[in-house]
């Protein structure tokens, strides 16, 4: 039997396990998608006809829905470990870095799935005027990834604290606000004919820069959150 450790392999194992668990129980996905779809439909009803609503508002609303849907489900990846008392088995077997990267990967994929399901629905129901499609896809992709990066370490904190859902929303909002704001700004640029890539390139830089800062910061503090 060969033996190899290394955080990448550990992260892969943790990611695969979390995906398997999620496919089996569908709790996080359910919470997230249900919230998102309900919000979009509610918004659609409330704002009908959507032609009367400014593009600015639609862009902001999209990301507000995405953010709160994320809050509904992104803490699950850590909370379930503490709730079902499997966290210690993980602590015994996997290094903190492996745990964090694996769970960050899971949350990122969860965000991508959320956006893939929610955004088209939103675009249709609220008649969002997408002009620069390439830019819009890029901004949505980077924005959702950045939200996952911002909130995963916070989810770990919440799992060790009181695990109340409300706590996750309160704690993650300040940390998620930078990527949220620039994602909205970039989305607006993608929806305006005379804006486009030139207006949004700064947003893309900020999103990438934010991730490059917050992920190392999260890695630095994660050990202190995760290990007792």
């Amino acid at each position: 039997m060969s033996r190899s450790s290394g955080w990448a392999r550990e992260a892969q194992a943790v990611f695969a396990k979390d995906c398997l668990l999620e496919l089996r129980t569908r709790v996080a996905l359910g919470a997230v998608v249900l919230f998102a779809v309900t919000s979009v439909v509610a918004a659609g009803f409330a704002l009908a006809p959507p032609s009367g609503v400014a593009g600015d508002v639609k862009a902001a609303l999209l990301w507000v829905v995405i953010f709160f849907a994320a809050v509904a489900g992104l803490s699950r990846v850590f909370v379930v470990e503490e709730e079902t008392r499997t966290a210690d088995a993980l602590r015994l077997a996997v290094s903190p870095v492996g745990v964090f990267v694996g769970k960050l990967a899971f949350n990122t994929v969860l965000m991508w799935v959320l956006c893939a399901l929610t955004v088209p629905l939103y675009l249709v129901l609220l008649e969002a005027p997408v002009v620069h499609w390439g830019l819009f896809v890029v901004v949505t992709f980077l924005g959702s990834t950045a939200l996952a990066c911002a909130t995963t370490a916070v989810a770990a904190i919440v799992a060790k604290a009181s695990m109340r859902g409300a706590l996750f929303g309160v704690l993650s909002f300040p940390v998620a606000l930078p990527p949220l704001l620039v994602a909205i700004h970039g989305t607006k640029a993608a929806w305006m004919a005379n804006a486009g890539w030139r207006a949004a390139i700064g947003d893309i830089h900020v999103l990438v820069g934010f991730m490059l800062v917050i992920v190392p910061a999260s890695l630095l503090v994660f050990e202190h959150i995760w290990s007792d």
Partner: protein, 206 residues
């Protein structure tokens, strides 16, 4: 290869309340030892500190392999632990649990090999059933398997016989005896049936 675990004046305080104070001990492979004491005396806390799950407030726990200190990652690889409050993933099957923990530990085991291991603990028939459907005895056998899949030199058991029948106890006894031939076993218990698993190492008061 000789393995050594050293406890140097280990203490643990929770919210200004001391649970453990000034505990020093040393064990060297091969052999088995016990940590004794009534409920609430801090046995589980001490075992968790030894496992590396808890950081002591005072003192330290050292792991030595042939006299050389081990770092955190090496310690993790050297330890397997079974405890009532460390659970398996109930929605996943026995095979999936084993597969994950083996892979996480860097053991490249194929499914046939994993199924062979499950056979050794008489769980082959239930390999594809979720752990949620298992009896206490079956869960304990699977926990022991996952704790030993990476062949650790150190096995830590917290009240291993709780809720087990005689057959289950016998199985534990077997495992302890096997492990103690080459490695270190430390059992925390207040069960009279388990007290002869090894030499008493530490006795905690109430």
């Amino acid at each position: 290869m000789t393995w050594q675990i050293e406890l140097r004046r280990v203490g643990k305080v929770f919210n200004d309340r001391p649970v453990l104070r000034g505990i020093s001990a040393s064990v060297c492979s091969p052999g088995a030892w016990t940590i004794l004491g009534p409920n609430g005396s801090g046995k589980s806390t001490l075992l968790r500190i030894i496992a590396g799950l808890l950081t002591p407030t005072d003192g330290e726990v050292l792991y030595l392999r042939n006299g050389e200190r081990l770092n955190a990652q090496q310690r993790r690889q050297a330890v397997g632990m079974v405890a009532p409050d460390i659970a398996l993933y109930r929605p996943l099957t026995a095979l999936e649990n084993l597969r994950f923990l083996a892979r996480a530990r860097g053991m490249h085991l194929r499914d046939p090999q994993l199924l062979e291991l499950l056979e050794q603990v008489q769980l082959r028939q239930r390999a594809h059933d979720p752990v949620a459907t298992f009896s206490t005895g079956m869960v304990q056998r699977l926990k022991l398997l996952t704790a030993l899949v990476h062949r650790p030199p150190v096995l830590l058991l917290d009240e291993p016989g709780s809720n087990l029948d005689e057959a289950g106890m016998e199985f534990i006894r077997l495992i302890v005896r096997e492990q103690a031939k080459h490695g270190i076993v430390i059992v925390a218990t207040n069960d009279t049936r388990e007290m002869d698993y090894g030499e008493p190492l530490i006795r905690l008061g109430a």
